[in-house]
Symmetry: C2
Subunit: 275 residues, 2 copies
């Protein structure tokens, strides 16, 4: 999975000098990254925050890039970490996952703080439309554990959330044994990744934290099932801004991104060969 997290300050200089607005620059930059990614990976993930930061024009760019990614044959994840309850959760689910959705989105990330009932509208809509959700179970930030690892009657919070995911995934699983309901689990906590692979046999795991956040391919290995399936590993800044890495000094930014992505694919293939 390639993450599209456009940030004005990190864009290759040619985009900053040739576009009047952040949104226009993100569109041109994102299109190049997506074309390159479409030849190599199955999924792109748009980090919604960066588009929202560019205002309505930024969201118009998100709309267009998502359509473009789908035209290129990619699956599209919107990383919005949405959460709410009742009819508001249903509105978010309808927005990004419903059969009449306005966005070219195949899956959405969802935050579980409002409880299992806050997830249900997303699960129901996703199952009905053939889309998916990834519930934040154990995130990759250093301080995530303060709440997520805390023990409730001897069981960490992230495993309680994983219980909700397991149940919903089991109820929505398809013939492949995988379901509409996945989980976000950071590559930065390999031990928990391994536990959660076992606890969530019907969930695709979305793994952030590879690369820029310090997770290695070896850390991701436990996310895959015995066939080498069941997980998508995200890399955003490590691909988009590879041109800033010393090892790609002097290369065109897009060549740096391509080389960085090829290196990641090779790296992951070594730990999770397809069977």
């Amino acid at each position: 999975m390639v993450g599209i997290d456009p940030s004005w300050a990190d864009l290759p200089p040619e985009f900053r000098s040739s576009h009047d607005s952040a949104a226009a620059a993100y569109e041109a930059f994102g299109q190049s990254i997506i074309q390159m990614a479409a030849e190599r990976v199955a999924v792109v993930k748009f980090q919604m925050a960066f588009f929202e930061a560019a205002g309505v024009e930024g969201l118009q760019t998100l709309y267009w890039l998502a359509e473009f990614a789908r035209q290129q044959g990619l699956l599209v994840v919107f990383d919005g970490k949405r959460s709410d309850i009742g009819n508001t959760a249903t509105a978010y689910a309808g927005a990004y996952l419903g059969t009449e959705r306005q966005w070219a989105c195949d899956a959405l990330t969802v935050n579980p703080y409002l409880g299992e009932e806050g997830l249900t509208p997303f699960v129901d809509v996703a199952q009905h439309s053939g889309t998916g959700i990834f519930v934040l179970v154990r995130t990759s930030n250093p301080g995530a554990g303060r709440l997520q690892d805390a023990l409730i009657e001897g069981r960490p919070v992230y495993r309680i959330v994983a219980d909700w995911v397991r149940k919903a995934a089991n109820e929505t699983k398809g013939t492949s044994n995988y379901s509409s309901v996945g989980a976000v689990v950071g590559a930065t906590t390999p031990q928990q990744l391994s536990e959660l692979r076992r606890q969530l046999p019907n969930s695709v795991l979305l793994i952030p934290g590879y690369g820029a956040q310090g997770g290695s391919a070896a850390d991701c290995a436990a996310a895959f099932d015995e066939q080498g399936l069941g997980a998508v590993v995200n890399n955003s800044r490590g691909i988009m801004y590879a041109w800033k890495k010393p090892e790609y000094a002097g290369k065109h930014w897009l060549d740096a991104s391509r080389l960085s992505l090829d290196a990641m694919i090779e790296d992951l293939r070594a730990v999770a060969p397809l069977k």
Copy 2:
């Protein structure tokens, strides 16, 4: 506080018949509600989900209605329950709270599942720009307690989150004793509301759950300080869709909304007189 949660199915029929798109109908409907509210209350809250569900055009409507609300002298809260970490959290904060933000937003609701460090970028940006956040502490949905009330070393999750809010609020409080960092606490749990009023002396409390979700004015009373300040009580559907209530049968929809809002204000004034 009046909540703007536009839903196509609930719009007064005149809007559904005279507009081609949901976004256009929401704009006309929202403008009327905002004009009426501006004469009576200090704050409006936009539920972002309903605008996102109408696609880019819906977000253009959100943009325009927020500008309009501010022109009418209202403070504007975006209820987006955003959450992320590091530079992504900073992007959300910049989008809605930063000095160069693209949206006419004065405060944003924020979800704490990613830990105290996920809140910090929002706190920092809000303090710098004179905007604010409301952190979800104890939400008003029936199943919220499953996670939020669970005990960690004898202390409920919502109080741990409240500890983070208390600390950030204490560090950012102004001369009024209130700070940039508020908390969302449902009117549906009056006992917890009372506890949290004491635990969070420097936080304005945003109280959902009045009206449609079953909270009464008496349930909200504990949210106010001794001067009758320190809380904003939200009502969305109870105002916007008052025309559907039996007691307003036969009235114009806007008259029904006005009467319903006046009744709410009177109801709250009885439990929280200004001193």
